[in-house]
Structure formats: C-alpha cells, structure tokens
Amino acid sequence: MYTQAMDTMDQEPGTRKKAVRSAEEMLLEQRFEARIDEGDFIEAKDWMPEHYRKTLVRQISQHAHSEIVGMLPEGNWISRAPTLKRKAILLAKVQDEGGHGLYLYAAAETLGTSRDQLLDALHTGKAKYSSIFNYPTLTWADMGTIGWLVDGAAIMNQVPICRCSYAPYARAMIRICREESFHQRQGYEALLTMMQQGTDAQRAMVQETVNRWWWPSIMMFGPPDDQSPNSAQSMRWGIKRISNDELRQKFIDATVDQAKVLGVTLPDPELKWNEERQHYDYGPIDWSEFWRVVGGDGPCNHERLGARVKAWEDGAWVREAALAHASKHAAAQQAA
C-alpha cells in the first residue's frame, strides 16, 4: 500500500558493480537483460544479477514495512470509531494492511532472505518505511483523508508495479491492488458523508485534516526526477515504470477534481489549471520537511518504530512457546 519512491531509500552498501566479472557471469547477465527487454518475468529461482536481487529485497521489504507501520496511525482510532460500521471498516482496512505486509514479506523471502532478518533491519533503523506514517492521526477525519489521499497516492505508485519484472512481487502487487480500491473509496466516502450530511463542526474537522495531510501526501511520490539518481536502473529493470514527477502530477490532477466534489479547499494557493500543459500547476513543495522526516526527525518516527520494536520484543516469549510446542509434538510424532 504505502510505497515510496525507491530513490529516497539509502543505497545498499557495496552494491557498486564489481569491476571484474567472469565471462560466464557476463553471458548470464546479457541473457538476463535480454529477458527484461522482452518483457519476460523473472521467477524466484532464476539467475539474476546481485544488484537486481538486492534492489528488490530492499524495495519489497520496505514496502512491507510500510504496510505494517501503517497499521499504527489508523489503529490509533479503532477504539474511538464513531459508529459500529466505521469501526468494522477500519478494522477490516487495518487487517488488509497487515495482510499486504505479509504478502510482501513472503515475496521478499523468495529472494533468499528471512522474515526475521527483514524485521531486524526495520527495528534497527537500517531499513526504511514510507515516511507518511511518521505523521500523527489527530482527528477522526484523518481516517478519511488517509484513505482518500494516502491510499490514493499509494495506488498510483503501486499499479505500475503489477507489471514488475520480478514475478512474485508482481503477483503480490496484483493481489494488493485488488484489495486496495476499497481503502481509498471508504476514506473518500467517510469525508463526503461528513461534508454533505454532517454538522458544521464535522465539516471544519474535514477541512482541517486536509490542510494537514495534503503536502505530506504529495511528498509520497519522492523527490523530483532531477534529484532521483537511482530511478534509472530501476526503470531499466522494470521495477519502477513511471517517474516520480509524472506520478505526482497524475495524482494532483485527479485529486483536485475530487476535492471540488468534496467541497474542501486544498491548502495550495498556487494550484491552478494550466491550459497549455493540460495539467494543474502547483506550488513549491517544502523538501526540507520531507528530508527531515525521512531522516528520522518527523513528528512520530520514534513512536512508530518504538511501537513495532515493543510488539516484537513483548511477543518473543509467544513465538518461542509456539516453536517449543511444535518441536515437542514433531518429536512425539516421529517417535510414534
């Protein structure tokens, strides 16, 4: 769900291509590139360049981490959902996100890593997750905005990955995209209900949430193309198919119209239709805020990671008990 442009995540140390490669390896790499060019799918046991493997492990696992961490800002409002229907919808949505994380960890594991290793990277801060989740959910209306804007941005990022060259990732993404559209629709519908049928206080709550989430949402597409050096290789390999700026523009164009239907004002006085470009012009993004949050100093970075680490550590005895029980019974079965 909550992908973020590949280029903002640190490059894996030691991934510069080796200077000297054997003739066999060069041949394998040529064949591999040919397959990519033909639009062929790469499966788990196929030969692949080490850089391709590492790039994918990083991207897929960070996508998975984003789903898991993303359960927290929304989980924050489950106990306070204003109606039983909204409570059920939120529970189902957060459950879906857990499921998406799971599909993605499974896809990453096909590349020769383990869930524990991936989680360790997250918990020690080596791996990143989408920085949008480092913002707090301060009102119920945030649940609607997250669905509308954050899921909306995520969908836009994600759909192209359904055609990713690495098939286990592509398959996971297809499954995720199928489940995702409910997420955006329910958020928008919640806001629409409040705007059209709610009280003045509710309408004020909706406008306020949009004021807070608009800029962070469009930052989800990552830095401008001219500041994104790693995109090129990912695009060659069919891992990333559309550029950051292009996706961002697409999102803004779609969302401005949705905002009009909602009856909210987007907090950008420079948003204006450009007849020549056939797109909306928009105001300058505060990239210093973006880098600050990505770098670990956003509003909730510490709390989010802390919550994940705590859940993991508090749960160690449970995982150990399950394994102990299983091995006792496996032994008993073998003895029988």
């Binding site: 799971l102 020769g112 299983a326």
Partner: protein, 96 residues
Amino acid sequence: MTTQNEWPLWEVFVRTKAGLDHKHCGSLHAADPKMAIQLARDVYTRRQEGSSLWVVRSDQIVASDPGDKDMYFDPMEDKVYRHPTFYALPESVNHM
C-alpha cells in the same frame, strides 16, 4: 529461507470453488500445521476466496531446476499436435 528460531515458512494453495484446482497464492509463517491452516484461512480467504486450503512447508517443495528449463519444457514446443487448436475442422463441427 528461515533462521533457527523462526517459525517455518509455509506455501498456501487455495481452491476457490469445487471443480477448480488449488492455486498457489502466497506464503506465511506458522509454528505448526494447525496454525498454518488457520492463518492461511485468516490471511488468504478474507474475501470468500476459498472452499479448500492446502498448506505445505516451503522446504518440502521440490521444484524443477530453471537451468533445466530447456531440457524439461522445450520438447513440448514442437509437439503442437497435442493441442486441439492444431486441428482445423469445418465450421459445422468445430465445436468439438
């Protein structure tokens, strides 16, 4: 690949409807077979996608070697007479 203290990895296969095959839909970690089946149900059949579930420990799966793809699968390429579309029949009996 799992480490010593991890719950093993299981592959999940779901049959959506009687008459169809079980299809691979992903994997999950579980400590034992009963847990694996229950978790598979919770994770992979939330949208009424299932009438039957199989779970198999990932390390029990034997897969063909992609390196042998040529040897295993290419010979099928030129035996097109196995496919019904190879046979052109008159329109009136083409529903066979």
